[in-house]
Symmetry: C2
Subunit: 386 residues, 2 copies
Amino acid sequence: MREVAVIGVGMQKWGEIWGKSFRDLFAEAGHKALLDSGVDHIDSMYIGCMSGGLFAAQEHIGSLMADYLGVTPIPATRVESACASGGVAVRMGWMEVASGLSDIVLVGGVEKMTDINGDEATFALSTAADTEYEGYQGITFPGLYAMMAVAHMAKYGTTMEQLSAVSVKNHANGALNPSAQYPFTVTMEQVLTSTPVADPLRLLHCSPITDGAAAIILCDVETARKKFNKRPLVVIKGSGQATDTIALHSRKDFTTLNAVKISAEKAYTMAGLTPKDINLAEVHDCFSIAEIMATEALGFFKPGDGGPAAMRGDTSRQGRIPINTSGGLKSKGHPVGATGVAQIIELASQLWGEAGARQISSPRYGLAQNMGGSGGSSVVHILERK
Amino acid sequence: MREVAVIGVGMQKWGEIWGKSFRDLFAEAGHKALLDSGVDHIDSMYIGCMSGGLFAAQEHIGSLMADYLGVTPIPATRVESACASGGVAVRMGWMEVASGLSDIVLVGGVEKMTDINGDEATFALSTAADTEYEGYQGITFPGLYAMMAVAHMAKYGTTMEQLSAVSVKNHANGALNPSAQYPFTVTMEQVLTSTPVADPLRLLHCSPITDGAAAIILCDVETARKKFNKRPLVVIKGSGQATDTIALHSRKDFTTLNAVKISAEKAYTMAGLTPKDINLAEVHDCFSIAEIMATEALGFFKPGDGGPAAMRGDTSRQGRIPINTSGGLKSKGHPVGATGVAQIIELASQLWGEAGARQISSPRYGLAQNMGGSGGSSVVHILERK
């Protein structure tokens, strides 16, 4: 299989975007990525979207977006893996270019979540859990992650302060990101005393409801070197995807994200790297406990040390392994289908040295981890600056 | 890229299946395909599903189905292209095996459409059209295809009898298919006098609402030859995918299915074949007019000759190019996400010589054409018996 480069990126400022529709958001991000890359055509397109049906009463998203991006009649495929839809779309695009079937592929992600009310959005998101055995019993995602947090606290002594340190750090990063939905800092005190949502999780431990899109252009390395060489070459060095039981109650242990672990192992193996080689990571902090568990499952910290590591500052921009320099889902926002694509944008920007005020010093390897539901699916990509 | 074989298939009798849930349907078809192929594992899985959200209040379908098929932690990805979701899933599975990333991949499709009422199902299906410019104005799919039928009649003189001949032929085939939802014959008189739905289309020109799933196992040819050689080798010789505007009103001509034409040209080119080489085809007859237009766009008949060809019997099991020997969407049923996968099952069964009472004499090349919306997306596969 061929090596694949990221040669262009595009997104808008995320938030409650009432002036742009579902299709507008995607087309805007797509056009920005096309312009940024300098390509004169694309061969194919993938779109990550969790629930066009429930959020926007719109399926057939491949046809819609190819139409509104002005790129028909190319193949355009929508992929879904709940909140990991964007990451899985990246994997599909990578596979298509790596296989030799296409040379230039656009991968985008989009979700328009604020056109329905809060109750409806909570219901739509709950369809990422096991509808028959979880959703219909009344539990939604804050409750599921609260149970994971309680289990992690009971087993490892993880504290409210440790959970809150994740939110404080991600908002500190997001405050430097012009695309972030909530680009402001929060204090430990503010997080600890914010409105309770599902005990022990409080509002500032939870990622928000967001409208937004993100897009990247993938290209085989040979063509990228020849035609699109205005930046350092950034390639996808490893890709791993895995599943776990969709329902939390089917797992032996609530404190381990097995799909994350397995998808990471696959990506490390493909890349010939270990967790120690990684210079920064974007991880799926849909709730603060998720970041702690993900950093453990990815091998950055041993089980139970994810919370203390956040408190020590190991995951800050100046720390041993900066996590979510973009602000993460918490501060940047979480338009579910777009999140996994935006993670790649942050890594590419950092590897290109274009991350502005939040730039870390010359990273070589970046890792993105995107997760569906309560960890029922996970996809990991490792990027390298050549 | 490597050549890819179809080595196992599975589905259940389709219909209003009130005793089995969304997940049960998929797991049943998947298990049958696994047993039929004789594989001891799969490396990855794709699931075609149009709207798990609106039909079954369930997204995150990759995780759910991997869980209930008992194959976690393998990668499992749901793909959507409205009623072409199944065909696009086949293309993804083919690409993964052809690329060398995996050797054995399960591709399934599923839709559970009768757990909501008729109004809700009509709405869910309408999200395959342009929601903002078509759906919200009140038009649904029978109306869209009725406009295409009227345009085709006006331009080419296509008649009600020609439209109806398609339904008569497909029910004659479906009557011989144990998996068909409506396995009975209908007469020309019955079709012509059935309940009007959207003028000129009557009930027996329309495919039904269906519960069902279908699954196939794909494998690289080398492994298939070595380990799974109980049947003649059937390979995917060509794959093509294309898009068109999602809204009908954006097209210059209502009588031509451009995405079908382009996806077919790509598949013919990859296979090194022409329409004349094809011995049978499964095409997307969501409405009888769609079969007529598809047989023209695929190059089997010249524009305007699709209707007369159906009347002449050219598309019957004994005709020049048998179309929809399975009974098609009309008689076999149309669980939208599963349809494209079931088309491959019919082709493989015919190429293996296992199609029972509806077997045609020793075909070598079969073509499957699966379409989304009013032709906003199309995917074509060509299979060969080696």
